[in-house]
Amino acid sequence: MGAMTVAIDADVCVIGGGLAGMTSAIAAAEAGASVRLLSHKKSTLRQASGLIDLLGYTPAGEIVADPFDAMATLPDHHLYQRIGEQAVHDGFDLFDAVVGESYSGDHTAANALVPTYGGRIKPTARYPTMTAAGLASDRSPVLFVGFERLTAFDAPYVSASLSSDGMPAPTRGVTISAPGSHRPDTRLHRLVHALDVNESVSTSTGSQPIRDALARRIEPHLESAQRVGLPALLGLENAPDVRRDLERLLGVDVFELPMGPPSIPGQRLEHQYLDALDDAGVFRTTGNPVVAFDADAGRIQRVYIDRNGSRVPYTASQFVLATGGLVGKGLASDRTALSEPVFGCHVPHPADRAEWYGDDPHTDQPFARFGVAVDRSLKPCDDSETPEYDNLRAAGGVLGGTDVTMELSASGRSLASGVRAGRLAGERSN
C-alpha cells in the first residue's frame, strides 16, 4: 500500500538542474540515450548573472586575455587539465548552439571585458547580445542610467568606479525616475513585464507606450553619449525588441549591465535551456530532491526522490551527479566535516577546520576548492583514487579542485564537465 514500486526508467539519469546538469542531459541525449533530469529546485540560472566565464584569472591572480593560452599553464590537478581542452571546446559549442544569436563572444577565443552593475570590469567568454554594446574595450562615450529606488544600481557610482577600474571611454551616470507608477525596487518584475509587453503608462503629456516614455526621460541627459547603459531589466521574452525600440528612439546604442539576483538575463538563459532540453527529448522531473539510492556490485541501481515523506524510484544504467556546490546544496557541511549528501562520495578536506580557511580572505581559500574528487572520466573516487561506482559521473559545482570564484571559471567548469560526463554516460548506456 502506498509503496511506489514501479520505477521510471531511462538510459541516463542526471541529478541536478543547474547549468552542469542541463548540459549533461542534452549531451547524453545527443549521444542517443533516453534521459531523465531530476532536480530539486528550479534551475539556479535565474539567479546567475548570465555571463559565461571560462577563465578570467590565473590561479596566481593575473587577468587572462586568452583562456585557451592560459589553460596550458594550469596545474595538473586543475579540472581543465584533467579533462582536456577539447572538453572545454565541446562545452562551449553546446552552449553556443543552445543560445544562438542571443549571446556574443564566440567569434574570438579571447575574453571580453564586460562592465558589471557593481562598477567592475569582468573578463568573460560569452555575454548576452543585450550587453554587447557595453564592452569596456570600446572607447565611445557612455551614459549610464539608473532608476530612483533601484539601489542595487547606482549609475553615478558605476560610472566613476568603471573609470577608475580602467574603462577608457568617457562615462557619465544619471538617475531618473522610472516611467509610470512602477517602483523598480520590490516591483522590479512589474517594470520588466511592462517593458516586455510595452504597456501604456500615463505621463504628464498623456498616456504613451512605456518604451517611448522611458526614451523620453533619458533623452535630455544624452549630450554627447553614443551608448546608453541600463540595468538588465529590459524585458524578458521580447528583450531584443525593447532594445531595438530604445535605440531607434534615442539614436544611440543601448546595452544592459548584468545584475545580481534576481537576474533577468539569467531567466532568459533558463528559458533557452529549457527549450533545448525539450528539443533534445529530455524528460524532466522538478520539485523533489533525490534522497536515497540502491547500489549493487559497485553500480548504482536506482535513486529515490522524496515526495513529502514517500519515496519514488527512478532507474537508469548511467547516472550523473550535478547537484552543485555548497550553495546549490550539492555539498553539505557541518561543524566538523564536509560531505556529498546524495551518494556519500568522498570529499577530500583537512580534518582540522582551522585549515579550511586561508589567512587572507582575498586570496587562496582552501574551502573554495572543496568538492568531490574525480578521475579523468569524471567518476567520483574514494580516498585511494578508485571510482566509487562504475556508472556514476559528476559535473559542475559539486567537483572539487578549483576555486572558480577567484579564477572566474564557474560556468566553464559546468559546461566542460557537463558535456563530458553527459556524453560518456550517453555512450556507455547504449
Binding site: 502506498g2 514500486t5 539567479q47 516591483r187 518584475h189 512589474r190 524528460f283 515526495r307 524510484p313
Partner: protein
C-alpha cells in the same frame, strides 16, 4: 454507500498556529535573493502587490512587533505557490502566506474589538472600528462565499437545473457583481444532474474486490458536483487495473479556504477528511485525488497548518491519481503499446501540479500513445488560481496573467485543451473557447474500450 450528507456540526476550533519557531527559522533562511519575486505572476501585473518576499519572511518579521497588523496586500496573493517551488533556500513561503492570511481575516473580525473598546469606554474607537469593519464587510462575505464552494455545491446539486439557470441568469449575475463583487465576466460552472457520489451509490460502489490493491478516491467538490465524468473515468481506469476503489466520506480539501484566509473553516473540513481517509489507509488503501490542488492540500498544506491525529499518515499516503498508477503499474509500457483517437491536445500544467513535481507527467505519458499528440503550453500561470479570478477587482489581473497561456494555446496545433485543475480548465476555456478535458478521461478512453463502460460516463 451514499454519504453525501454533511456530518453533524463540529465544535468551533481555534486554529493551530504553526509554532513561532517553525516560521522563525524559515524566515532566517531567506537570503533576500528575490527569486520568489521573479516567479510571482501577481507581482508581474499588479503594481500594488509587493511580492512573496515581502508577504513571507519580511511581513513575518515585521508582525513580530506589537501593533503591526498584517498588510492588506496579503489578500492580493492568489496562493498559486509558485514562490515556494522557486526559493533556493526552501523558505516555507506559502505556509507563511496562509498563516498571515488567516491572521488577517481574524484581524478583520471587528466585533469583538469594538465591544472591548466600548467596555473600556473608548466610544470613538469603537465607532471607527465598526465603520472600517462595515467597509470590509462585503469583501468578507464574498470571500467567505467563494471559500465555501463545498456548501454552495451541496445546495446547488440538490436542484442542479434550477441552480444552473439561476447562477447564470443575467439579473442574478448583476446582483452578484454589484452586491458581492463576483465578476459577471465569467459563466458559472454548471452543476451535474447526478453527482459523482450519487452515481457511485447507484452503481452499487466498487465492482472489484481486492484487499491487495485498494485506492481511496478523494474527489473533492468539483469532480463530485460539476465534472463527475472525471471521477467515473478514474473508476474505469483503476478498475481496469483490478483496483478496488473506496469512496470515503469527505468534505472540501480546504484549497479555496486557505486562499481566502478561512483557516478555521478549512480545519473543520480537514478533520473529517483526515479521520475518514486515515481509516481507509488503515484498510490498506492509498489516497488518490484527481484535482492537483486537492492532492496538494492533503499532502503539503495539511501538515504545515494543522495538528490533527493521523495527519502525517494522510499526507504520506496521498498521491495524484496518475502519479500513483504510474508508480504501481507499468503504465509507461502499457501506453507505449496503446493507441488513441487521433486528437491534438494542448496541455497546461496547473501551478499546484508544478509544485508537486508533476508538471510534465501528462505530456510524458500521452506522447508515447499512438495517434495522440500533446503539446505543453509552457510554464505560465493560468491566472485564475481558484477563487482569485472570480473577484471583480482581480478579474483584469487574472486575465493579464493568463494572457501568455491563451497566446500559447492558440499558437499550438491542437484545439482540445487538457489540464488536471478544474479552475485552470475554466480559465482555459474562458480565454480560448476550447473544450477542456482531464488526463484521466483520455486515459480511460485509451485503456478501456468496453462499450458498456460508456454508460458510466
Amino acid at each position: 454507500m451514499s454519504d453525501t450528507d454533511d456530518t453533524s456540526s463540529f465544535d468551533p476550533v481555534t486554529v493551530f498556529e504553526p509554532t513561532e519557531q517553525d516560521l522563525r527559522s524559515g524566515s532566517d533562511d531567506c537570503y533576500k535573493c528575490s527569486t520568489c519575486d521573479s516567479v510571482c505572476p501577481v507581482a508581474a501585473v499588479d503594481s500594488s502587490f509587493p511580492g512573496p518576499k515581502f508577504q513571507g519572511p519580511e511581513q513575518w518579521r515585521l508582525t513580530r512587533k506589537e501593533d503591526t497588523e498584517i498588510d492588506d496586500s496579503i489578500m492580493g496573493c492568489s496562493n498559486c505557490m509558485r514562490c515556494d517551488g522557486a526559493c533556493p533556500s526552501s523558505v516555507p513561503l506559502s505556509q507563511m502566506h496562509n498563516t498571515a492570511r488567516g491572521a488577517y481575516v481574524e484581524q478583520q473580525r471587528f466585533a469583538s474589538d469594538a465591544v472591548a473598546a466600548l467596555r473600556s469606554g473608548a466610544f470613538r474607537r469603537a465607532a471607527s472600528i465598526v465603520r472600517d469593519g462595515v467597509a470590509d464587510f462585503r469583501e468578507r462575505i464574498r470571500n467567505r462565499l467563494l471559500a465555501n464552494y463545498y456548501t454552495a455545491g451541496r445546495f446547488a446539486s440538490k436542484l442542479p437545473r434550477v441552480a444552473n439557470a439561476a447562477t447564470n441568469f443575467g439579473p442574478t449575475r448583476w446582483l452578484l457583481e454589484r452586491v458581492l463583487g463576483i465578476t459577471s465576466e465569467r459563466s458559472f460552472p454548471s452543476f451535474a444532474t447526478q453527482t459523482f457520489r450519487e452515481w457511485w451509490a447507484d452503481r452499487g460502489g466498487s465492482h472489484v474486490e481486492n484487499p491487495d490493491k485498494r485506492v481511496a478516491y478523494f474527489h473533492g467538490c468539483y469532480a463530485n458536483y460539476n465534472t463527475p465524468a472525471v471521477g467515473k473515468a478514474m473508476v474505469r481506469v483503476f478498475e481496469s487495473f483490478e483496483y478496488e476503489v473506496l469512496v470515503p466520506q469527505q468534505r472540501c480539501s480546504g484549497t479555496p479556504m486557505f486562499a481566502n484566509g478561512r483557516l478555521d473553516d478549512a480545519k473543520r473540513h480537514a478533520e473529517t477528511n483526515v479521520e475518514s481517509l486515515a481509516e481507509a489507509i488503515a484498510d490498506g488503501a492509498a489516497v488518490i485525488a484527481s484535482c492537483t490542488s486537492c492532492s496538494m492540500a492533503l499532502r503539503e498544506e495539511y501538515p504545515e497548518l494543522f495538528d490533527i491525529d493521523d495527519i502525517d499518515a494522510v499526507s504520506e499516503h496521498t498521491y495524484e491519481s496518475l502519479e500513483y498508477l504510474r508508480h504501481n503499474e507499468d503504465l509507461d509500457a502499457v501506453l507505449s503499446e496503446s493507441s488513441g483517437d487521433a486528437e491534438e491536445y494542448v496541455y497546461h500544467a496547473p501551478c499546484h501540479a508544478r509544485n508537486q513535481g508533476l508538471e510534465r507527467q501528462a505530456v510524458e505519458l500521452f506522447s508515447s500513445v499512438d495517434g495522440v499528440t500533446i503539446e505543453d503550453v509552457g510554464d505560465s500561470c493560468s491566472g485564475i488560481s481558484g477563487t482569485y479570478g472570480w473577484k471583480t477587482e482581480k478579474y483584469d489581473n487574472s486575465m493579464a496573467i493568463g494572457d501568455p497561456m491563451f497566446t500559447e494555446m492558440e499558437a499550438a496545433a491542437g484545439e482540445q485543451g487538457m489540464t488536471e485543475c478544474p479552475t485552470c480548465a475554466m480559465q482555459m476555456s474562458h480565454g480560448t473557447g476550447y473544450s477542456i478535458t482531464h488526463p484521466l478521461e483520455l486515459l480511460a478512453d485509451i485503456l478501456t474500450d468496453d462499450p458498456s463502460a460508456s454508460s458510466d460516463r
